[in-house]
Amino acid sequence: MSDHSLIPPMGQRDELLRMTDVDKVFNGNVEALKNLNLTVNQGDFISLLGPSGCGKSTALRLIAGLMRQTSGQIKWNGGLNEGDLGVVFQEPTLMPWATVEQNAWLPHRLRGKSLDDVRGDIMWALKMVGLEKFQKSYPRELSGGMKMRVSIARALVTQPRLILMDEPFAALDEITRHKLNNDLLMLRDKLKCTVIFVTHSVFESVFLSDRIVVMAARPGRVSAEVSVDAPYPRTEEFRTSAQYAELCRKASDALHGAMNQHGERASA
């Protein structure tokens, strides 16, 4: 718990990545993102919250380098090295023919490292998500929540500086989701990594993040930012606190604001 002080308070964090006036247009007419401005600092836990189709995934894919912006700039402070990035999708996205261990090996394997060389890293990552006993299991033998944990372990295995998560827990039941939320915060506390977390859920975004970036659709853009200045570590008690309820109300208002903006534009 005392480790936590190693993530500097907001406002004193070094910049990791800055997106300036980023546009992304699909098929010449779909404005998935327009004038997106977002600065990500080291140690931030940012939630991207917004209605379906507002460009959350698109923003994430731009950051991951899976596609290029139509215009605008994405600048990394200090550049992005191999192994600096970890990604978790909504589906666990595991290779069904590979064991848990082999799945977690993937990022290292693609950089030419043998399983024996990185077994330590893999076991560490599996231990982080509580799956060290399942290293030889196949994905089909695991529950949905456990598959997601493998997916997270795979993202952690290179000890990345930045982890991108696109609605990772959306398909899980509420109890499992809460458990994974708690574990994710614990991991982040241990690893001091930066997280950008896409979600539809106001409650999840408030529980997890220190910054909620609310996005509006058509065209996709940042509509508001809510900072969640509740201290970490956050536990189950935080979920039932008045502060949590108040923050959820704030975030919810901001989200409705974003959706109404869209409505006004559409009717105008």
């Binding site: 894919r61 380098g65 899976l66 290779m95 023919w97 993937l106 394997r109 693609l110």
Partner: protein, 286 residues
């Protein structure tokens, strides 16, 4: 006896539905083997009775006993022929696997290559092999090479098309992941596309196994020339000219058995490679 006491004895609780389910499963398991054998036995018995009751002469329809007797008496000649047909079938299947998978990999590496050569593959596939075979035996001097070529033409397409489909069926999120982690083409092919394609390929193999036998048999019919080194199909043809119907049946049985063995082997291979992870090999609990 009260309920808590029953719990205390820790007797396994099996309800009626589960019991019925278990019984049904056991019945299924037995029926799976016994039913086909029973029906096959019944069919052979009926065949025998029909021949005996109707006093059908053996040069029109021999009984099963006579066929088996012929099989044993002519075993020297028939086993040689079986070996020839089997050799061509397996060689054709081998070349079909190498050629089909190789072409499929090339197709997925270059879309232009696929656009350029896919039509040829389709043309070869849709043209009946009996109509190409005579030409092949005119142009190709070696009889073995001609037979191989015919069988290969028939067998390679299911492997090519299934494997191509499989190589292109990779999960798009996994593709993204490979891209993010900077995978090379070769890594993507080896670690992602080939394993994804494996079940598709094995499905193709099962079809191709049967087809290569058909190809080999058809090619032998067309090639015709006999003597040493002729296969089962030629023996059938030859026995037909001599009205040796029992031998025709004996050779026919050998061909059918070969097909069954090839299919079984492909299925076993499929099970061995997939049972750990693939949905098709997982037994549903209900």
């Amino acid at each position: 006896m009260s309920a808590p006491e029953m719990h205390a004895t820790q007797a396994p609780v099996v309800d009626l539905e589960e019991l019925q389910h278990a019984r049904a499963q056991r019945r299924d398991k037995i029926a799976k083997w016994s039913l086909p054998i029973l029906m096959l036995g019944l069919a052979i018995f009926l065949w025998d009775r029909i021949v005996v009751w109707n006093e059908i002469p053996h040069y029109i329809l021999p009984g099963p006993g006579l066929v088996i007797q012929t099989l044993i008496e002519d075993w020297g000649m028939l086993s040689d022929a079986l070996w020839v047909t089997l050799k061509i079938t397996l060689m054709a299947l081998g070349v079909a696997v190498v050629g089909g998978v190789g072409l499929a990999v090339l197709f997925t590496q270059s879309r232009y290559f696929e656009m350029a050569f896919y039509p040829f593959a389709v043309i070869l596939q849709v043209t009946p092999v009996v109509s190409i075979a005579p030409l092949i035996f005119i142009y190709v001097d070696s009889r073995l090479a001609g037979l191989l070529l015919c069988a290969w033409i028939v067998a390679f397409f299911p492997i090519l098309s299934n494997t191509t489909l499989g190589l292109n069926s990779t999960d798009h999120n996994l593709r993204d992941l490979y891209k993010i982690y900077g995978a090379t083409r070769w890594q993507r092919l080896r670690y992602l596309q080939l394993p994804t394609a494996l079940p598709y390929f094995l499905g193709g193999l099962r079809i191709a196994g049967g087809l290569s036998l058909i190809g080999a048999v058809v090619a032998e019919y067309v090639a015709g020339t006999g003597g040493i080194g002729s296969g089962l199909a030629f023996r059938i043809l030859e026995a037909g000219y001599r009205l040796n119907i029992p031998r025709m049946f004996a050779a026919l049985i050998l061909i059918a058995a070969t097909g069954v063995v090839i299919f079984t082997f492909a299925s076993l291979l499929s099970h061995a490679l997939l049972h750990k992870w693939h949905e098709s090999a997982i037994k549903r609990e209900n």
